[in-house]
Amino acid sequence: MAMQTSARQRNGLFSDQGELDDEDFISPTVRCVLFRLDSEVYGINVKKIREVLRVGQIRSVPGAPNNIIGVINVRGVIVTVVDTRRFYGLPSKVVDDYSRIVIVELDEDRAVGLMVDQVQEVKDIPESRVELMTNTREAGTAYIHGIAHYQDNVIILVDTDNMFSNKH
């Protein structure tokens, strides 16, 4: 199932044109980078993403909170890499060829790396398809900004601001 989804979604970028319906042309869109954790698809607004890196050497930091994998050197800047799976209650997973680190900019001088299972594509999601979660926030949805139903996908929009607010 997971392989099927990902295979189809890897083609997604090229099959967009045919699938848009009228409503989507009118509605403003949010451009998102889509990535996968287990079989779920997550999206982050591209404006927040600085780059996507292959997983290189990660230096562990003994004593750090356990949702932190370690730190990496991004051209001379030390960036924390977090285990995104743990934020969503998933067990950790061994790094494989598909694993990527998504560097998210929190503000001008703070960035963080999200370890994800696989980065899929960049997609314009019509805002009309996004169902915001802010009003119905419960414990499990704390890091979810909203959910988009689009082209047979359920895309979970990641709330990065809330993930790295000062409570950590």
Binding site: G63, I68, T80, L106, R110
Partner: protein
């Protein structure tokens, strides 16, 4: 209020305040230094000008009155004694406070402290009222009425050489008008512009308009001599701001003309007194002609900017150019079959350029230690006056450059140490005399560069500390037993004052601190990777020296590792390294200890702490690194010592800032990351 102009003003005012702070105390020591006096005067004046432009009236009021006082002092009507200084310094504080509030975003001000204003006025009125602004105009006005042999009489009790009050001036004007009205056939009537309350105070503008009218009228009179023309010196922009010098030259010209033309006895105009007037008209930015520092680069807020000499920037540009050349060379070498020699030449060149570049960039962060020292004359003066002591503060090596962050970080510890010297070190004057010392105590604050360190020292010639008393107190406080106390050598005994709990209450009268304790000072210095050393002799004084690295950005470290993980230990705390030998250790109370020159030192296995689960104790060939943490020594057992390396400290990423035990991270030669250990934090976390 225009924010941009305000920011410029704040930057300028802050600099002026720093300068004034020092100058005001200097002035007390050399009250006759007219350059200094003028400089102070200009300082207040510039702030007033800016504040006036921005419409911060309470600030203008204080500045204006302070200026008046200095005007009096300049005329030697008032002596700058301690009492006057107290008031002026209070005014200065008030001004600093208001500037500070402006800086914090405060835009509305209450009226200034009326008591302070009254006190300032009282000083000015000590001889006579201040109206220096008006005086030269009186002279100018009177001077232009030619050939009228009428004397204007001053009211009684007025010193003809002194300054004139507004009332007196108006009285004189009234007399003049009567006279001119009767003598001159031409009905020269001066009319006020409409809408002006004839009884109200005259503004400068109105006054000048009147003068202009008057001048026009008098010119028409046949008996009038040619109106004296004042010529501006060449190459002076007639529309530009007038500098004090130019103005004084003009005044001198005017005086000459007056001397020739005037037959009406008038109070002598004193050119120096009149100086403020034209300056007052300046917009917000009077020239700081004396500083030689008309570099108005500081366009931003004070906190986050540094001023960099353009020559330094050129140097950096030049080096970056070099760097590009080396890169190009390396790129060419890569594409061709280069000999090893060529490559190593290029690499050597690269090494050279980067080292130079690093130094140059570092220098842009450097600031003279004067920034910190500047405040001390005031601190010492106020404290000495409060305690009734006579103290001379000598500053040495103020031009020594220091990293900007260090400059800021050192300020508080130094204030504390200097206060201690003044408060507890220097004796009362009579005690000093009895002891056969000069009545005036001396505190020397010095800075000098010592290799890659800065050495700061505070020396006083006070009563010093007695190690015997310190040892006894340590025992009484229960910090150690008598045997341990007796084992301390004198230096170690002096270091006791840095221990927490030692300095708080009435321990030794010498050292009872106030505010931050000495332990806080010690901690702050340790945080800066610095060290403190105390030396003292009873009856002769105390010498405290602080060593801090030149910069906080680059840290000399000892690289150690176990497994594949490397860690950097700040070299300043490393004392010695030796091989780990199981047989020389013993377990005391569950704690592994090693005996080193008759002292037992606790041993900690770094691997146990940092990668639990590994069998650290089974390793062979481990090394022990003895480090000093505060006054305590511990041995860290590591698998391998890789040697010394200068590292660039980088902050750890988010969510890791609060993890104890790390001072940051750095990137090693092979591109991997090494964590820099913060030993006090680490020991606290695991012990």
């Amino acid at each position: 209020m225009d924010e941009e102009i305000l920011q410029d003003f704040l930057v300028e005012a802050t600099e002026l305040l720093d300068q004034l702070n020092e100058q005001l105390v200097d002035l007390e020591n050399s009250p006759d230094d007219s350059n200094l006096l003028n400089s102070i005067f200009r300082g207040f004046h510039t702030i007033k000008g800016g504040a006036g432009f921005l419409g911060v009236m309470p600030l203008v009021e204080v500045c204006h009155r302070a200026e008046n006082v200095f005007d009096k002092i300049r005329n030697q009507d008032v002596a700058y004694d301690a009492a006057v200084a107290d008031v002026i310094l209070r005014a200065f504080d008030k001004i600093s406070q208001m500037i500070g509030m402006l800086n914090d975003g405060e835009r509305e001000f209450e009226e200034s402290d009326p008591v302070l204003l009254a006190e300032l006025d009282a000083i000015t009125k000590g001889t006579q009222n201040a109206a220096p602004v008006v005086e030269s105009d009186v002279a100018a006005a009177v001077q232009k009425s030619p050939m009228v042999e009428v004397a204007l009489t001053l009211p009684e009790g007025v010193d003809p050489d002194g300054d004139m009050t507004d009332e007196e001036f108006e009285a004189l004007m009234a007399q003049r008008e009567q006279i001119t009205g009767s003598v001159e056939p031409v009905a020269a009537k001066l009319s006020l512009p409409e809408g002006v309350d004839p009884d109200g105070d005259m503004t400068d503008e109105e006054f000048e308009a009147l003068l202009a009218q008057r001048a026009d009228l008098t010119v028409e009179q046949p008996q009038k001599k040619t109106a004296p023309k004042l010529a501006l010196a060449e190459d002076v922009d007639p529309d530009g701001d007038i500098t004090d010098d130019e103005f004084e030259a003009l005044l001198a010209q005017r005086d000459q003309i007056m001397g020739a033309d005037v037959s009406v006895p008038v109070p002598d105009a004193k050119p120096t007194v009149a100086a403020p007037k034209p300056v007052e008209r300046k917009p917000s930015k009077p020239a700081q002609d004396d500083d030689g520092d008309d570099n108005k680069a500081a366009k931003n807020t004070a906190e986050s900017t540094v001023r960099v000499d353009t020559r330094r920037l050129d140097e950096i540009m030049n080096l970056v150019g070099e760097l590009v050349l080396v890169r190009n060379r390396l790129l060419t070498l890569r594409s061709s079959d280069a000999s090893l020699e060529e490559i190593s030449n290029a690499v050597a060149n690269l090494d050279h350029v980067t080292t130079d570049l690093q130094n140059s960039v570092m220098k842009t962060r450097m600031q003279p230690v004067k920034k910190v020292f500047g405040r001390f004359p005031r601190v010492v003066r106020d404290l000495a006056r409060k305690l009734g002591k006579d103290i001379e503060l000598e500053l040495k090596g103020e031009e020594t450059d220091l990293d900007k962050n260090l400059v800021e970080a050192l300020a508080d510890p130094l204030v504390h140490l200097v206060r201690n010297s003044v408060d507890h070190g220097i004796e009362m004057p009579d005690v000093r005399l009895t002891a056969g010392k000069p009545k005036v105590g001396k505190v020397i604050l010095a800075a000098e560069q010592e290799g890659d360190h800065i050495l700061l020292s505070i020396t006083d010639d006070g009563k010093g500390m007695d190690p015997v008393v310190l040892r006894r107190k340590a025992v009484e406080k229960g910090m150690m037993d008598e045997a341990a106390a007796n084992q301390l050598d004198d230096k170690q005994a002096f270091m006791l004052i840095m221990a927490a709990g030692f300095s708080t209450a009435d321990v030794v009268s010498d050292i009872s601190g106030r505010g931050v304790g000495m332990d806080v000072v010690k901690n702050m210095i340790t945080k800066l990777n610095g060290s403190i050393d105390i030396d003292s002799a009873v009856g002769q004084g105390t010498h405290i020296s602080i060593r801090v690295p030149l910069t906080l950005a680059i840290l000399p470290t000892l690289m150690v590792s176990f497994g594949h993980d490397s860690y950097a230990i700040p070299l300043t705390s490393v004392q010695e390294i030796f091989d780990y030998d199981e047989r020389k250790t013993n377990n005391i109370d569950g704690q592994k200890m090693v005996r080193l020159r008759e002292k037992s030192i606790p041993l900690f296995f770094l691997a146990n702490w940092l990668s639990p689960g590994s069998q650290a104790e089974a390793h062979k060939g481990d090394k022990v690194v003895i480090v000093a943490i505060g006054n305590q020594r511990v041995g860290l057992v590591v698998e391998q010592v890789n040697g010394q390396e200068e590292v660039v400290i980088k902050p750890l990423g988010i969510m890791l800032q609060k993890v104890d035990g790390y001072a940051g991270a750095t990137i090693t030669g092979n591109g991997s990351i090494a964590l820099i250990l913060d030993l006090p934090g680490l020991v606290q976390r695991f012990q």
